[in-house]
């Protein structure tokens, strides 16, 4: 009975996901978690909703309390980044051993904030080369900010 209800809720979740109506998606996710605490995907959905609603504290404490959510490195790190706990965000992200573009994008932003410009530069160079989305201009803008910061810190940097 429970499994059936959960499946129905997941079907609903799947249907409303493209609406980006985070309040509603959050509600359904919480319903699933109410039926079964161990539904990892529902927890993941809940976390994404909270972040989209800028409730970073709530999202983060949720992740910290849930052992099943230990591999939500990206989400955890992003919350820490937005809560200005940038050192922690860096450490969290470094635990992820298989970085895809989304982790790299966050890493590049974190290292920029931490003034680790060399590292940020390397990550952005890789990202600019290997990303294929509509944010190319924004990414290049960020890259330029890193290069400018590097030059300010050390005027001998030419490239």
């Amino acid at each position: 009975k429970n499994a059936e209800q959960i499946k129905a809720l997941y079907t609903e979740l799947h249907k409303i996901a493209p609406t980006q109506d985070w309040e509603r998606i959050l509600k359904v996710s919480k319903k699933i978690l109410g039926l079964s605490v161990n539904e990892k995907k529902a927890f993941h959905c809940k976390t994404v909703c909270l972040i989209q609603m800028e409730k970073f504290d709530e999202a983060l404490s949720g992740i910290e309390r849930n052992h099943e959510a230990r591999d939500l490195y990206f989400e955890k790190s992003y919350c820490e980044y937005r809560l200005n706990r940038v050192e922690e965000a860096y450490k969290t992200l470094k635990q992820c051993n298989q970085m895809t573009n989304k982790e790299k994008e966050l890493l590049a932003q974190i290292t920029y904030k931490l003034e680790k410009y060399q590292e940020s530069y390397e990550v952005y160079r890789d990202l600019v080369k290997n990303s294929d989305d509509e944010y190319d201009n924004e990414r290049k803008t960020n890259f330029s900010a890193v290069v400018a910061a590097m030059r300010t810190a050390d005027p001998s940097v030419t490239k």
């Binding site: 079907t11 992003y78 932003q109 900010a145």
Partner: protein, 69 residues
């Protein structure tokens, strides 16, 4: 000399009677100084924040249910 603000002539001694009445202690409107601007920097990581793929959740449940039947 009395017209120069006191903060700008600290090393010059002057028996300044005007200090008792209308004191010209410091200039109020400070000069503007150029500072480096903060470059634009976009939060692109937020665009990567997506809901997990639920496709398998629906599939799996269907399969396991068929198995039960």
């Amino acid at each position: 000399l009395e017209k120069i603000a006191l903060t700008d002539r600290l090393d010059i001694y002057l028996e300044d009677s005007s200090l008792c009445t209308q004191a010209n202690v410091a200039r109020l409107a400070l000069n503007f100084e150029p500072v480096q601007c903060k470059p634009l920097f976009f939060d692109l990581a937020l665009n990567h924040l997506e809901l997990p793929n639920l496709e398998d959740k629906i599939e799996q449940k269907q399969q396991s249910q068929q198995g039960v039947k």
